[in-house]
Every structure is written in structure tokens, then in C-alpha cells.
Assembly symmetry: C2
């Protein structure tokens, strides 16, 4: 029964983030000073600084010496496969959807690039992700079968915040990753993909492949996404904190 003690700065970070998201501190306004927040949360200035620094790194806040911490935005994420598509869509005020096309446990004949990554038998979850009902991404998620015992269609709701594959894998199957490699390829839409996405076959689209690994460098899951829409990244100062070009 060794309870994992959450560090204070994590608790405070979570609390402030919750306040940001619930508009307790709204965009454009100034946060109370470090000193004041330290008093509020009953921690030292060092601790509150660590929490705030994390929020600055993540893009939520901006700090100016002599002025204070200002609320930047509430959606600082980059759009990669590992940033939750569900969350990204929700943040834009649109409605995300997930149509389950099929589940194969195990998949009888995984393509070579998949069997190259995983030694064990793998399951495939095949879904069409939508925005306001319009098809956006065609996603194949591959996971070793022994990591997702009891995988069934009911784990994949078509609507609501629980359709995020990352949340499903982490919450229901206790699956954690710590490192990932993502590649973006150009390709011509194959017939079946084009049909799902509602575009003409042969149209240039993006194929995004992503493999995630755990602490021991074992592959945990592989995501393969087809999308006709561009990927957008917002790079900030913090992205080049070290090794400036």
C-alpha cells in the first residue's frame, strides 16, 4: 500500500490549470502575484514558481518580469497524432465523432511495416474520425493483443469526450507510453481511403504514422492516419529554449 505521493508543485499545477479551464482566471487577465499564490496554496515561492513555469512552457501563461503572469490561451497544443484529436476539436468548439469501422483481435494479416514493429500478435482498431459529422481522419490503431485483453466495440463510443484513443488506452487498458516517433508522408489517396474521406481517389493526402514506446523501449501502439487536411503547428519560444539556431 505505498501511496504514490504527488509532489506539491504537481497538485498546484493541476489546480491552477483547472481554474484556467473553468475561466476562474480568464484569457488576457493577470494572475495574482507569485507571493500571493504561494499564500493561497500554502506553499513556498519556489514551488509556485515551478508550477507556473510548467504552465508557461506549455503555453498557457506568459510571464513578464515586473509585470506578472498573463493568461495566454487555453489550447496550446501542437497537432500531432499524440495530441488528442478529440480534445483539439473540442477546443475549437466543434463536435468530434468516431465511427468504428472494425476491430480485429488479432488481425489475421498485418502489413509488413506493422509486423516489423511488433513481435507479438496485434489487434487493429479501424475508425473514421469526424468533425461536425464530416469525415476528417481515417485511423488504424495497432496494439499488441496481450496489452488490450477484453477489447470490444463497446470501448469505443461514437460521441463524447471518451472517444479519444489515447484516453481509452490509458484509462481502460492502463497503457502508458513515454516516447514516440511520428512521420508525415505524402501519398495519393487509395480507393478505400478516398471513399471513407469523401474525396476523389488519387488526391494527394497526408499519411501520418506514429509508433509509441514505453519506458523499456518496447512498442506499445502504432497509429496510422490518413487525412486530406493540413497539419498545423504553433511553435513558440520555448520550443527552442536550448540550442538556438
Amino acid at each position: 500500500m505505498n501511496k504514490p505521493v504527488t509532489p506539491k508543485y504537481m497538485v498546484v499545477h493541476g489546480e491552477i490549470l483547472k481554474r484556467l479551464k473553468s475561466n476562474h482566471y480568464s484569457v488576457g487577465t493577470r494572475l495574482p502575484s507569485e507571493e500571493s499564490l504561494a499564500g493561497t496554496f500554502k506553499v513556498s515561492r519556489v514551488t509556485i514558481r515551478k508550477s507556473l513555469e510548467m504552465l508557461v512552457d506549455a503555453g498557457y501563461l506568459a510571464s513578464r518580469q515586473g509585470s506578472g503572469y498573463h493568461v495566454n490561451c487555453l489550447s496550446p497544443q501542437r497537432e500531432t497524432c499524440l495530441a488528442s484529436f478529440t480534445d483539439a476539436v473540442l477546443r475549437k468548439g466543434r463536435v468530434p465523432g468516431a465511427k468504428l469501422i472494425g476491430i480485429d483481435v488479432p488481425h489475421p494479416d498485418p502489413p509488413e511495416d506493422i509486423s516489423d514493429v511488433f513481435d507479438a500478435p496485434v489487434a487493429r482498431i479501424h475508425r473514421l474520425r469526424t468533425v461536425d459529422g464530416e469525415p476528417e481522419l481515417l485511423v488504424s490503431t495497432w496494439v499488441p493483443t496481450d496489452l488490450v485483453a477484453g477489447l470490444a466495440p463497446d470501448a469505443f463510443p461514437e460521441f463524447g469526450p471518451d472517444q479519444s484513443i489515447l484516453r481509452i488506452l490509458s484509462d481502460r487498458f492502463n497503457l502508458a507510453w513515454s516516447r514516440a516517433c511520428e512521420t508525415v508522408h505524402p501519398c495519393a489517396a487509395p480507393n478505400d481511403v478516398a471513399e471513407h474521406l469523401g474525396i476523389a481517389p488519387g488526391t494527394p493526402i497526408l499519411s501520418v504514422a506514429c509508433t509509441a514506446y514505453d519506458d523499456t523501449d518496447l512498442p506499445v501502439f502504432h497509429d496510422q492516419v490518413f487525412r486530406a487536411t493540413p497539419i498545423v503547428f504553433n511553435l513558440s519560444r520555448s520550443a527552442r529554449k536550448t540550442d538556438p539556431i
Copy 2:
């Protein structure tokens, strides 16, 4: 003449990074302990920790409680337009090249998506970047003419480390950016692009557009890249330090 004082942790960070790159500490080995490094650099443990933390965030080092700091790698960058292509190629042990196709100061008729971004007249630098002599990227860089007074072909060497556009813009023209937005589009290779890249017209390729802004949110330069090869990202733990999905 107020000299900008560099904080100690920055100085130490730079020094350690230099040692890493010069193989003073080689990949796989362990760094001296925090205590020891603090002694070496004549700073407190808190300060040395800040420097090391930056290197961990950047991906150079990994820290394990009770064990120490281990040298991870020497090339932790993500491959975006804002990560220097020159550096990325050099790190792989290949030879980067840059063939200058043309410079227009100012460009007589910039396309709409460019004039939408910049109010002022803009210059265009048009280059073909190569790896081991093979064409890799077709790049158009757009910059307001008043930011690059005296722009001439001799600023763009075909070989060597000084072909990086980012280095050229920052070193020779004192041009600094602090924020950028990058988008990755799929497209079919237009005839002229295909010819430069040595591929068939109509082949699906990537079009990467990137606009960089300075502190005051004024656009500083715009990069437009065509590439037939995939983009690779390496994501690490630190990329989801906050707001885990």
C-alpha cells in the same frame, strides 16, 4: 553600453552543451553528479540543476533518481522548417548543399498568400537544398525588403555550415523571431517543382509553409518548402509534461 549579463545557468548550460558536442562526455556515459558539477562550475546545486534540466527537456540528457544524468543523444531536434535543415543533415553525417535559383528584391508579383501576410514589399530567395548532391527541398523564403538591406547572392554559400537560412537571417541581418506557425499540406507536384526535385509531375509531395513573428507579432519571414520525403518527429516525455491526455 549596458552589457547584457548572461545568467549563470545559461553559461553553464552552454558549456555543458559544448562539452557534449565535443564528445567530452560521450553518448551512453554518465555525467558527474550534480554536487560535483556544481563544484566544477562554482555554482550552487540549484543552479546546476536548472542547466541540466534544460538539457533534459531538450532531449540531450536523461536523469534517473539515484543513478545520475545519462547522455542520451546529440541531435534531439524535431524536424520542422524552423529546425535548421543544414544542421539536421550534418548531424546525420551527410553533406548539405544549397543551389541558389534566384533572388528577387523586391519580388515583382508575390502570390496572394504572401501579400496577405506582409504589408510591405518583400524579397524572395529561391533555393534548392540538396543532400549528398541529391535534391531534397525546394525552398522559397520571403522577407520584407527593409529587413534585409543589401541582400545579394554572395550571402548564400552553396556549401558549408553558413548556408542555413536561419543563421544567415539572424547573423547577417540581425533578424530575430520568437513565435511561428507551421502548416503541412499534401499536394501534387507542379511541373516546375517536379523538375527541380527530379520527380514525376503530379507525384504527391509535402508543402510546408511557415511564418515566423517577432516579439511584437509582426511577421518577420515566411518559408515555403516543397519536399517529396517524409517529415520525422521524435516526441519525448517532455512534450507532454503538462496536460497529459
